[in-house]
Amino acid sequence: MTDYSNYTNEEIQVDTIAKLIKDDQIVIVGTGLPILGASLAKKVYSPNCRLIVESGLMDCDPIEVPRSVGDLRFMQHCAVQWPNVRFIGFEINEWIHGNGRVIAFIGGAQVDQYGNVNSTSLGDYHLPYFRLSGSGGANGIATFCNTIIIMRHERRKFIEKVDYITSPGWMDGSGGREKNALPGDRGPMMVISDLGVMKFDEKTKRMYLAGYYPKSSPEMVIENTAFEIDVSKAVEIKAPSPEIIRIIREEIDPNQVFAKRH
């Protein structure tokens, strides 16, 4: 019999993502871990959540893991195939109507203590030492939606100041979004990394450690974060059950498109 008692860093992140999605939410997913987490949420924790992607495909329920947000694996298995422009209109109207049902996942190469994310370039913008793909839909999402940032936890990625703000977070702290003509009632909710879950202080909007995994520790988070991070409120996150691991491996990502099992 296959043993599902062990799990990888990626799998606990997938489970963490899945558990935070609520049954009544509309979830903007990218590819990678968020789509696995959201698929797990739909299957196990929150069967009524709805998945949408920035290419305009609405209420998606893929049966195989898509590689891109425009993938046929989304397109054949959704309720409506809108063009991109309507997706943008939808996310903005959710804000105009004061609805709180959209949450969104974004990623990047750098994040700072206020949740500003860089997915454009490292170093000098005009002559970078590492050029990235660019915003895609992330800038609009970070402007109008509550976001969850997915990052690999490394000291060079969790830094004091990002080289370029692709997706605005809380800017320079409390009141920072309003100052920059950004909706103040939207912004990053948390960061999920391979070492834990970071949230933002309600008053200062600074990142703090809210939870760590059985295989990580607050010390590891401090060590791999270049800015000062408060770990005093951190609690241990429960490991996923063998049944959850089985579902991830056998039902959600049997081809290991994303969640690698070394």
């Binding site: 049966i63 195989e64 005009h126 915003s135 800038n139």
Partner: protein, 322 residues
Amino acid sequence: MVNKVYSLKDAVAKFVEDGDRLTLGGFTTNKKPYAAVHEILRQGKKDFIAEAGPAGGDWDLLIGEGRVKVYINCYTANPRLTNISRRFRDAIQKGTLIFEDYSQDVSVLMAHAAALGLPFLPVRLMMGSGLTDKWGISKELRQTLDKVPKDKFVYIDNPFNPGEKIVALPVPKIDTAIIHVHQASPDGTARIFGSEFNDIDIAMAAKKTIITCEELISNEEIRRDPSKNSIPGFCTDAVVHSPYGAHPSQCYHYYDYDIQYFKEYDVASKTEEGFKKFLNKYVYGVSSHEEYLEMLGSNRLLKLKVTPGLGFSADLSKGAVK
């Protein structure tokens, strides 16, 4: 009735000109007009002002061959196959490409504004980000570049809500759009199955529109069910019958992406040398799209065929389908 059917060679020769402000349809690895891109490369056309939109290997090929003069980027990748297109990345890191960044939202809204004929586009996007803080193309340089707006954007006061700062964007004047569709008729009427992405917008906005299609059907046949039609013939300049014209990208209901091609490209595009070799095989080594398909071979193409009901190729993802 006018007949707009051209060979790919003639369509590209006539409607794609050096220095055009060019835009290509599709979305990263889906419905990208690769056959036309290959033909542009073979004909040596160059100096494009690229309104790239959600781009992938299509624009990476043109950048890698030095055909792009100005690149308006929002995202350039073959997601999860090459997460940042490598020739694009290399050109920017070496400082050999004039580029600008917008978000995907802004790029497709700009194309939409062009399709609607708007004078400018007001948005509540880009605020507080590098997209407003940093200009890829400086104001000074912009004054010297033909077909590039003099400003990246300007802040304006919302005339209906004084005190609210918003971003006003220029609306692109697109010379040429190339899109790949499922079916078209000789009079230029086109039919897109699945998501249009922003293909209809760019086809409307462009002065010249080339449509490559999987199937060429009669003018009568395409009118039997107008509810399926996306673009009227008078928005089209050329119709080119190009089965598998989006290969190696996907085409809804028809075929999946060619992972083998994209993996090969991922490795090849790491170096200039590898990239050139790759092009010599897939682009310059053949004289036409038909020869390209011949080289790929029927078995390879048949394996990509979408499995009805699944919407993707079950052959490509053995074991995933239960």
